[in-house]
Assembly symmetry: C2
Homo-oligomer: 353 residues x 2
């Protein structure tokens, strides 16, 4: 999975010096948020160069599409491609310092239900990075079934209560094609509990699908009812994560580049809409480690001027969700990346416990 931008970035050759200058420029711009002029850059670079020389280099970088000037007499700012190069080649990802790690472990300690953990992870991300944190609700496939319960409602609907092993209760309402007696429901639940409690949901699902056929043949009424109900329930429960938890949106209002109210509104609309964000997160779910979408790379207008840094998190080797942050393109990647990475790791661990 290599984005078009990334591909383009890979082909770019730069002299040592140009690369260094680009790095310093991006760093400076991330810090200050103002276009960087040749004089400043010459000084900040540490190299013994005159502004004029720096200007020449800048002209080259501009031609390559790595920087641009907002107008003739302003300094240079990084383009998306410039950021790309920066994050791909120039960032040294150091592990988080132990003190912070300790705090993370503390917040994401065991003994909480998945939902609580997700919320904490999101809050943690946003607090530490001063950006908006987001975490998808984990897929439940590796949760272990502890107890299932059916309760009849009016109108041919049934309330299903599912108690899962990492302390969580899910409940959903299913609609039945044909009516079942209260007693049938009770016995079906007992049957399912007997047979499947202690197994993980994926296994349960597989087993039920498998059983469904031969049971129909056997005409074993009880087993058949149970399997039918179970099929509905677990099909529903194992659908892709359709939700995420987002915290700290208000942090984004602090960045000047997003201080246009209309722009901000569109961004927040996208947050409450959720659809686009979910699509984007979906793209990350198969990636190996930390993924970064810079500005327009994501392809969503509402996210113009924003970057997303994300990482999948796993339980028992399997990816069950994605988390990350969203902020202005000029975010402090070098710091954000390890934070996202660590959070993903620790959330995964906490969910496994």
């Amino acid at each position: 999975m290599v984005s078009p931008m990334e591909e383009r970035a890979l082909q770019i050759e730069l002299t040592q010096r140009a690369e260094h200058l680009l790095r310093v420029l991006v760093e400076q711009y991330i810090r200050e948020g103002l276009p960087v002029g040749s004089r400043t850059l010459a000084r900040a670079s540490g190299l013994d160069l005159s502004p004029a020389t720096v200007r020449n280099v800048m002209a080259d970088l501009e031609e390559m599409g790595l920087v641009r000037s907002p107008h003739t007499s302003a300094g240079r700012v990084p383009t998306v491609l410039g950021y790309r190069l920066f994050v791909d080649r120039m960032i040294e990802v150091r592990p988080l310092d132990e003190a912070l790690m300790e705090e993370f472990r503390d917040v994401l300690g065991p003994g909480q239900g998945p939902h609580e953990l997700v919320e904490r992870a999101s809050t943690l991300l946003s607090r530490v990075t001063q950006l908006a944190g987001l975490v998808t609700v984990p897929r439940a496939e590796h949760a272990v079934l502890r107890r299932i319960e059916f309760l009849e409602l009016s109108g041919g609907k049934v309330l299903v209560v599912l108690v899962l092993e990492p302390h969580e209760v899910q409940n959903l309402i299913i609609e039945l094609e044909r009516p079942y007696s209260r007693e049938a429901l009770e016995r079906a639940a007992a049957f399912l509990n007997e047979r499947f409690s202690g197994m993980d949901l994926q296994a349960v699902r597989a087993r039920i699908v498998e059983d469904l056929d031969c049971m129909r043949r056997d005409m074993d009424r009880l087993a058949c009812t149970a399997a039918e109900l179970g099929d509905k329930v677990f099909a529903e429960t194992l659908r892709d994560p359709e939700d995420f938890v987002m915290m700290g949106q208000t942090h984004l209002m602090r960045y000047a580049e997003l201080s246009d109210v209309e722009k901000l509104r569109q961004l927040f609309e996208a947050f409450t809409e959720k659809r686009e964000i979910l699509e984007l997160l979906d793209k990350c779910i198969e990636a190996e480690g930390v993924q970064i979408f810079i500005g327009q790379e994501s392809g969503y207008d509402a996210l113009a001027g924003c970057s997303v840094v994300s990482a999948p998190y796993r339980v028992g080797g399997d990816i069950v969700g994605v988390l990350g942050v969203i902020g202005p393109t000029r975010m402090h990647y070098e710091r954000v990346i390890p934070v996202v990475d660590a959070t993903a790791r620790l959330l995964g661990e906490a969910l496994s416990a």
Copy 2:
């Protein structure tokens, strides 16, 4: 419950004409959002008055603190007190037209769980008024207990699953002082189910508290365990509503008077903080009908420039929550009030079903 502003407003005497002019001014300002000058007002009033006369009246109104001018050569805008007078005396609250009512009934139809209903009500409010809608999660005291279940977790904690009658599942984790065997938990649950299912939570609570003493004396181990656990559970469940659902915040970004990003940030911070908003809603929970807080009346800085229109909603005669909208002071009260009122009524009905 009369606010200080309201009290002050009650004492104000106005001539027929002055009152009319104030009303027209407020209406105009709510529509346009611009200071209203004497010429415009003279025309809009329908009265056959010269601008000069209107100016004289305005000078009086200004002295009474009902209007003010942003600067010497601008028109007048209503003050908080002006709005107060307007909503208290000059608004004719007409019931919603039948078509809209029909839509409301449709959205808040029966057959949904409380949480779903709350979310729908909030969305409905925000959509119809183009403001932010908010609805507190209803107190559960009149929910009927259908089933209670204990599941032991590690570390002396117990997961309690509570199935309530308007289709809802609540789960909470309680911490135990002394350990109970798995069997004891199971039997306690059976005992509680046997004894209390079908009763409303408040009654359950009362009964348990009542029983607790005499049971301790009896030394009936089972009943005692059950009562102790039940006491914890229902004490927890019946606490005041500690949460609300808010929808359509982004609408607020459309109003010019809130278009200062810093102001907006503070407002949104208050929304996520929730505490202040909850305090405010708490004040409404005892009121009879629709309550209105205009601008600073609420006393919270973050809500400067905002008004809140709220109404409690009831299930079976008892207030179980509050709902309303929040928007700029210059909102269209005459329309918003019936909407809030109707939503409260219908949400109550839907929850009772």
